[in-house]
Each structure stands twice: as C-alpha cells, then as structure tokens.
C-alpha cells in the first residue's frame, strides 16, 4: 500500500449533514436574497424529512446495549443465537490450554454496556506487550438474522450501515437492480455481499452466509422499503431466520488488538474479532491467498506474504487466521525468518486469566490498578474543573483500553481536562458567569506549563495542538479586555476538535 492509499484510509468518517445543517445554511443564504424564500426553504425541509429515517438517532435498528452484561472474555450471556457447541471452551489446541476467558479482574468493573474480549499474552520471555486496546462498534447500525437453533453456525444475514462515503470495498462486483436502485453484488463461496447507498448517502452492506443471493436481495429490499420509517428492516423473520438478540449484536461490534514486540526487531499484532467461522469467511475477500494448514490438530489458514510477495514487502511477514471459540484470532507478524519460526511463535499465544495478565503488565503500560496513582502524579500541576477529579478520570479510562501506554494516557487525560474546561468556558459565556469564565480561561492558558504536555512536546503534535487552542483563548481574553465583545462561540472551542463529547 503506497502513501496515497494510506492517506485515503485516514479519511474522516461519520460526518452527518443534518436537517438542521441544511436548513440553517439555506436560511442564511436564501431567505434574505429573494422573494419567495419561504417556500424554497420549505421545499428543503421537506426533502430532508424524506431521508430522516436512516439519519435520525433512534431510527430503525439502532443498537441499544443496555442489557448486554457479559463476563470478561466470554461470549454474551444470552446465547440463544450462538451454537453451544461453538462456544465450548474445551481445548482445541495447545494454544487454548490456558483457561479461556478467565475471571474478570477484581479491580475492573466492566461497564454494563461493555463487551470485553479476552486478554492475550505470549508465553515467551523475549516478547513484550506493547499495546492493548479494545474496539467498540465498527458500524453505525447493525441488524442480524440467524437460525435460533444454529446461531452463527447456521445461515446468517447481517445488515450494516456505514457513514456516508465509506464505500463497499468490493473488488469485483455485479450490478443488481433493487427496485430501480443500483446495488453491487459479489459472492465468494457461501458468502454473499450486497451493497447500496441509501437515501441519506450512507453505505448499506448486507452480508449473507449459507443463504441464497435471493435472500440477500430480499433483505436489501426490506431495508429500502423501511428506510424512511423507524421499523427495523430485519425485525421480521425470513424463513427460519429470526432477529438476533441485543447481546449478540453488541458482541459483534467488539474487537481487541494486542501488539507484542520482540527483543530484537520482530513485531506481532493480534486482532480478535467476534463471530468465529462466520467472521473468518466474511473477512476472506480474496480466499485464494489463504492456505489451509494444521497447527497441531487444529485447522487454520495462513497467508504467507513471503511466498506471495517476496522482496516486494512480503519478506518475513505472515498472517494466521484461526477460529477459537467465539473469536476469530488474526495474527500478523513481521521479521520472522521462516514460516516454522512464526508458527512456533503462534503456539505460544494464549488467553490469560485477568489477574495474571494485569500483574504481568510491563512497566510502561498502566493497568486499571495503576491509573489512580499515575493520574494523581500526572495532574499534580494541572487545575481540574468542578465535577472532574482523579476518580472520574479513572472511570473514563477504564471504559476503554485494558491498558494504557504512557503517551496515550497523557493524551486521553489532557483531552478530558481541556474539554471540561472548554465546556465550562462555553457555559459561563452563555450564562454570563464572569468568574467561571475567567477561571476557565486561566486554566486553558496554563496548559503551556503542564509538565505532561511539555514532556510530550516536539514528538507527536498533541501538545502543540493543545497550545494552539490556548493561543486562541489568549486572543479571546485579550479581546475581552479591550472590547468586552469577545465570544466563546468560536470554531476552535467547538466540540469535536479534541474529541470532546
């Protein structure tokens, strides 16, 4: 992948052009420029209302995770849609001989709406954990139909909605007429993909497994037919298939990534995706690259980049995909001399019990038990606004990754604090509270002396970005002194830039 492609993958997504956006812009442009503006605006509002079904929060099949309480590393507690046999934890390989799942760390209270994947480790002293992170839902909306007896082991139809402009990613596709709308279809073995763009510009992708092309097309037509209503297009059974429960929907949005570094130059990334064999098939867009192999007595697939691409970027690189329990393990590695050496390494990857995993964290990674002390030290010279304290910061972080790198912890912490002060500034501005306003401005200006931001300065751009905001606040404060007409309604203070909620 060259640099242009890599930059393309960084395109920001999830941007919504709301009905309000459309109306506000139209109002500023056209209402004062010609007679008859009102009818023009009404026309836009009407057009916007026609597509609000898919765009509005709470519209059809938006996932609610209220009831998705699960144990660490386990499948969802509600298993009606998951084949019991597939969730057996009896060892299928030497790599799973360590108890699967394990107990939840006593110090980590999983949020009621969080599905926590297993914790992984490498049973070799020359490899060190460098990164561990859990991913959340990867689509805007998801709906799944399954056979209640077979769960993900049987026929499945999954409907996913991605933000506008995401694209289907299909390499080879066949046009499909969906009642006048163009769809793109592609099939690999028992896997069917169908994508189309809905009325609001978002990409809808339907994945069918062990079903027919007609079933997938029917699901697409159902989605289109209900796209302007609050009805879930897949809430009605189709044949034997019934809607999956919320636990499975929540679990299918989870993922985990672990990076391990070798004492020399090697590196490995382990990604865990829920859904087992179903997900493996869904990810195999180019099945020809996958070579079936056996690891001990366990079936797996390997992509041998060394063989496929040789000196053109493939040397020493391998990917192994193996289904274990509810999870698809995907192991990417670089700098291995031979395939055998890589497979030997794979054999050493195990799921760890949480107590063991946390106790073995390297010094430069912070686990849940380390956060309070680390944040106390990090924020010793930082003013915190009312409502934000060490414990609330810890709570925020514990809902994310299982462990934090030092730099990432600084970024997450300073982002939370700056966002809180920015929020106070905006609230004070709105309420005319000059004391709170001055306090917030002083706090933001003080960022330039925060030790952890100075520690990070010159390396990754984060500190500089914070300080540029401080400069803008300084300008604001200066204007306030001279004109008393300054406002915090400025783009640099708006929510979004720092990822403020």
């Amino acid at each position: 992948m060259d640099e242009i492609e890599q930059f393309a993958r960084l395109r920001p997504s999830g941007i919504e052009f709301t009905e309000e956006d459309r109306a506000v812009i139209a109002g500023t442009l056209f209402e004062s420029t010609r007679p008859g503006k009102a009818s023009n605006r009404l026309r836009w509002l009407s057009a916007a209302a026609a597509v609000v079904g898919l765009a509005a929060t709470g519209a059809w099949f938006t996932i609610s995770t209220e009831s998705a309480t699960v144990d660490a590393g386990e499948r969802p507690t509600s298993t009606s849609n998951i084949d019991e046999a597939a969730t057996s934890t009896t060892g299928q390989s030497t790599a799973t001989s360590t108890p699967v799942g394990g107990e939840q760390a006593t110090s980590v209270e999983a949020a009621a709406d969080t599905f926590r994947p297993p914790l992984m480790t490498v049973d070799r002293h020359d490899w060190t954990l460098e990164y561990a992170g859990f991913g959340g839902p990867d689509v805007e909306q998801r709906s799944i139909l399954v056979d209640p007896e077979l769960g993900l082991q049987g026929p499945v139809i999954e409907l996913m909605t991605f933000p506008e402009g995401s694209g289907t990613g299909f390499q080879v596709e066949t046009p499909v007429n969906l009642d006048g709308r163009r769809g793109s279809y592609v099939a690999f073995g028992e896997t069917h993909w169908l994508g189309f763009t809905d009325d609001s510009g978002r990409q809808v992708t339907i994945h069918g497994w062990k079903v027919s092309k007609d079933d997938v097309v029917d699901a697409a037509l159902a989605a289109i037919a209900t796209s302007t209503s609050t009805e879930n297009p897949l809430q009605q059974p189709i044949g034997r298939l019934v809607p999956a429960d919320m636990d499975l929907l929540s679990a299918m949005g989870a993922s985990a990534t672990y990076s391990f570094g070798h004492a020399s130059e090697g590196g490995t990334e382990i990604n865990l995706y829920p859904g087992g064999e179903y997900t493996l098939q869904a990810k195999r867009f180019d099945p020809g690259e996958y070579e079936p192999i056996m690891i001990n007595d366990e079936a797996a697939h390997i992509i041998d980049y060394s063989e496929l691409y040789g000196s053109e970027g493939g040397e020493g690189r391998y990917r192994l995909s193996v289904v274990r329990d509810f999870w698809l393990w995907e192991i990417d590695a670089a700098h291995f001399s031979t395939r055998a050496e890589f497979l030997e390494f794979v054999d050493s990857i195990v799921i760890a019990e949480s107590d063991l995993w946390y106790s073995a964290l390297p010094d430069d990674l912070y686990g849940p038990d380390d956060l309070s002390d680390a944040l106390t030290q990090m924020t010793s010279d930082i003013p915190l606004p009312d409502g934000l304290n060490i414990q609330s910061l810890v709570d925020q972080l514990n809902n994310g990754s299982p462990a934090w790198q030092h730099d990432d912890l600084i970024i997450a912490t300073t982002r939370s604090i700056v966002c809180a002060w920015t929020h106070q500034l905006q609230q004070a501005d709105a309420n005319g509270d000059q004391t709170a306003r001055r306090q917030a401005i002083d706090a933001i200006l003080s960022t330039k002396s925060w030790a952890i931001l100075n520690e990070l300065a010159g390396s990754i751009g984060w500190s500089e970005a914070v300080w540029e905001t401080a400069d803008e606040v300084a300008r604001l404060a200066s204007a306030e002194d001279t004109t008393s007409s300054a406002t915090t309604n400025e783009p640099f203070l708006s929510d979004g830039f720092f990822g403020c909620d």
Binding site: E5, I15, F17, D21, T33, R34, W44, D138, A465, F497
Partner: protein, 197 residues
Amino acid sequence: MGQSLEMGDVSAGAEPVELEGNAIAAVSAWYEAHGETIFVYVARRLGQENARDVTADVFRSAIEGHHRFDRDAGTPLSWLYGIATNLIRRHWRTEQRRLRALNRLTGSVNTEAAVAARQPELSERPIERLDAHHRVEKLLAAVELLDPEDRDLLVLIAWEAKNHTEVGAILGIPPGTVASRLHRIRTQLRRQVTDHG
C-alpha cells in the same frame, strides 16, 4: 485558471447581495443537489464545527460569481468544489490542527479495526501493519508540509475519490498535470515517510 475562483474572488463572510433571480434559483438547485457533498468535504478538512459557515460561504460565493461559471469547463459540482477548496486554504491553520488531532485519533484500535472491517481486502495486503501507527504519524506530518496546492490535490484524490479529469476541472489544471503532480506528491511523501526514521 479554468473555472475555479481565485482567492480574491470569494467573499467569505460577506452579506448576501441582491442579484438577479436566475442566479439564486440556479444556485439553490445546486445547493439542493450538492449541499451535502460540499458540507461533508469541508467537514472532512476543517471539522464539522466549521462546515456550516464555510459551506454557506461556498454557496454565497457561487451566487455572487454565478456569471463566471462555465459549463463547458466542468460541472456545477466541480465548480463548487473549486470554490470550497479555495476557501479551505484560508483556514489552513484549522486544517493543520485537525491533521494533528487525526494523527492521534488514528492510532486507536477503533479506527484500524473499523477500516479493516469494512475494507477487508486492504487488510489482506502485505501492508506495514505492525508499524502502521508510526507510519501514520510520519505520513500526516509529511502531508502538513505539502504545498497547499498539492495538499488540495491529494485530498481530492484520496478522500473525495475524484479522478484526474475531475480534479483537473476543480483545480483548473489539465488532467496530465494532475497525474504528474500526483506522482511528485507520492514521491515526496514516500521519501519523508521512509527517510526520517
């Protein structure tokens, strides 16, 4: 310069002026057809918090400069893209901050997983997955260093998925020039990503 408005041609922030009704009618139709596309383009580069204002400025400029639109030189959408691109340049510092923020946000597993999940074929290539985060940092730093014109071209190709002819129409340059500049940009980015360890 083809159909693109020069920097001095736009009137960002100016109050709407009285114009003949056909210009407003035409631009209002364009807004209905392309308002979302332009809004999303601006939001990708400057953030959603700036998108309303800049999008409004784009269409305001289109109304005021409607007589300069040359249908033979491109579509209304490419003309609007050109205006938006010129306006975005005025907000370079905002875009710079956004790139830096993006740099940090793309280091998260969420982004990598999301991209891999919806574009599985990309994840199957022998890409530099293991040092991807480090490469992203260097790549975004290199994009920051590009000339504004080159950065515009890169974004239109990579984020807006425009082909060379469309980019040429937007930027007012021949498609062949787009190709050669893209090659130069690719070379420059590769050198900076791989040379500065």
